[in-house]
């Protein structure tokens, strides 16, 4: 996939700050994600990765800084405009976040309800999305009938059903066994190849970063501590960086 940094970034965060009382979680974090790129954000637990993602999606108000998604500053958007923009961004939650009162089919159809024109072809879209993750046979099952790995794949199918331009993965392999983790990483890669999406991947799984990252940012002390590709960072002699790549 050709990643052109000469074009405008599809996602841009500048000097993002967020505090909870005296706890300064983000202290001026910045990033740029380009079309077709897989950008991995790594950091220790509690380093503010999930907070950054929640600010990015407008689920949490940031204190200062700017967030631009496809040229739109999210703080300047009305609720309707933000909702419309959100449909162009797929989101895979850490715990899958499938609606447990709905079947797999209803889970996948849910994002389509805000798109009446796509709702008419919901059967085709659901089938296609499930086929992409290899779970066509689960369409009428309830989430509690699925294993952890299957839930993550169904959640991924739900994230891609609207064919978003950007996909955000929040800890996509956390809590999964190594084999299922590899399958999920492969799926992420396949989807990126197939739809040409840009991916922002929040993880502390080094194997995930090695396989999928075009670029890695280490989030330490609320700032982007260092940025580079996997090979560059793994050769670093900085102890803070080494801690991640041992």
């Amino acid at each position: 996939m050709d990643i052109s940094k000469n074009t405008l970034p599809v996602l841009k965060i500048e000097n993002l700050k967020k505090s909870f009382g005296d706890n300064h979680v983000l202290n001026g974090f910045s990033l740029e994600l380009y079309k077709g790129e897989n950008l991995v954000i790594m950091g220790k637990s509690g380093s503010g990765k999930s907070v950054m993602v929640k600010c990015l999606m407008g689920l949490m108000q940031h204190d200062s800084g700017t967030i631009e998604i496809m040229g739109n500053k999210i703080s300047q958007l009305s609720q309707n405009e933000l909702n419309s923009l959100r449909t162009q961004v797929g989101f895979l939650f850490q715990g899958s976040a499938l609606y447990d009162s709905m079947t797999v089919r209803e889970n996948l159809e849910f994002p389509l309800r805000t798109h009446p024109e796509r709702l008419q072809q919901k059967e085709v879209l659901v089938e296609e999305a499930l086929e992409n993750v290899g779970l066509k046979h689960t369409v009428d099952l309830m989430p509690d009938e699925l294993s952890g790995g299957m839930k993550r794949r169904v959640a991924l199918a739900r994230a891609i059903i609207l064919k978003p331009k950007i996909i955000i993965y929040d800890e996509p392999t956390t809590g999964l066994d190594p084999i299922t983790s590899k399958e999920i990483i492969q799926l992420m890669s396949d989807i990126q190849q197939k739809y040409g999406t840009s991916s922002l991947i929040i993880t502390h799984d080094i194997d995930c970063a090695r396989v999928i990252a075009n670029r890695i940012i280490l989030l330490i002390d609320g700032i982007n501590y260092v940025e580079g590709d996997f090979v560059q960072l793994s050769k670093s002699i900085d102890k803070k960086i080494q801690a991640f790549f041992k």
Partner: protein, 261 residues
């Protein structure tokens, strides 16, 4: 300031904060209620869940209520030779006060705690966030539909519960006092007037609204993981029960002015 007074001040502050947030939550309900899209399908699903699935509980409660109330009152009325007043006394007591309050308390336990637990677990498992990022307004989809369903269904459940309670009472009167069902219900119809039914119905609408608002508020704003879900469910029942008595007091006070109870 001593530790105790600081603690007390904090408690009072958080109480008023909670009242403020609950009021804002309720006002948001009215704002979202009249804006598109209208979630009719989800509203009907909630009406079915709350109404149909509470029928058995409300029916059993109402039946035993009418039965026990009549059995307990009978000896006292007999001492005064006033057992013929039984249908009047039971029907007025049940329709005006006991039916709405007891059935609402039962529903606060079933419906209110259910809402608190369901929305609370959706919050902690990020399902509500997932709805939001998919471009859906979760407040409208989850909260507005549930509050509206509770407001619409509770009066119906209360009417049903009252009717079953009167049936229970009629059975006791039939068995113990040899009063026919026709005579019993004739007397009930004569005893009840609009001034008994209208205030009770209006009151039950407010009861339903209170159950819906508190249950959804506690669940939607649930924090602290799975512990928070339990707390949300528990708080939904406790706060709603208190609120029901306060609403009841105000309703009786107002009804007294307009209907000369």
């Amino acid at each position: 300031m001593s530790k105790a007074s600081i603690h007390l001040t904090n408690k009072i502050e958080s109480f008023f904060e909670e009242i403020g947030e609950l009021s804002y939550f309720a006002s948001r309900f009215f704002k979202e209620l009249f804006s598109r899209p209208f979630e009719i399908k989800e509203l009907l699903r909630q009406c079915y869940n709350m109404g149909n699935r509470s029928l058995l509980l409300v029916g059993v409660t109402g039946f035993i209520l009418g039965l026990v109330f009549t059995l307990q009152s009978r000896p006292t009325l007999m001492q005064f030779g006033a057992e013929s007043w039984m249908p009047n006394m039971v029907s007025i007591s049940i329709v005006r006060e006991i039916g709405p309050v007891i059935i609402s308390l039962i529903c606060a336990g079933k419906i209110g705690s259910g809402m608190g637990a369901e929305l609370g677990s959706m919050r902690v498992t990020e399902q509500i966030d997932a709805m939001e990022v998919s471009g859906t307004n979760p407040f409208k989809y989850l909260v507005v539909t549930r509050i509206l369903a509770a407001t619409l269904m509770l009066p119906l459940l209360i009417v049903f519960g009252d009717a079953v309670a009167l049936l229970g009472s009629a059975i006791v009167e039939n068995l113990k006092g040899e009063v026919s069902f026709l005579l019993y219900f004739n007397q009930v119809a004569k005893a009840l007037s609009y001034s008994d039914i209208i205030p009770a119905t209006i009151k039950s609408i407010f009861f339903g609204f209170a159950i819906g608002v508190v249950g959804t508020y506690k669940g939607y704003n649930c924090k602290k993981g799975t512990v928070g879900v339990g707390e949300a469910s528990n708080a939904a029942v406790v706060y709603t029960s208190m609120l029901l008595f306060i609403i009841d007091f105000i309703a009786v006070f107002i009804a007294d002015i307009f209907f000369e109870v």
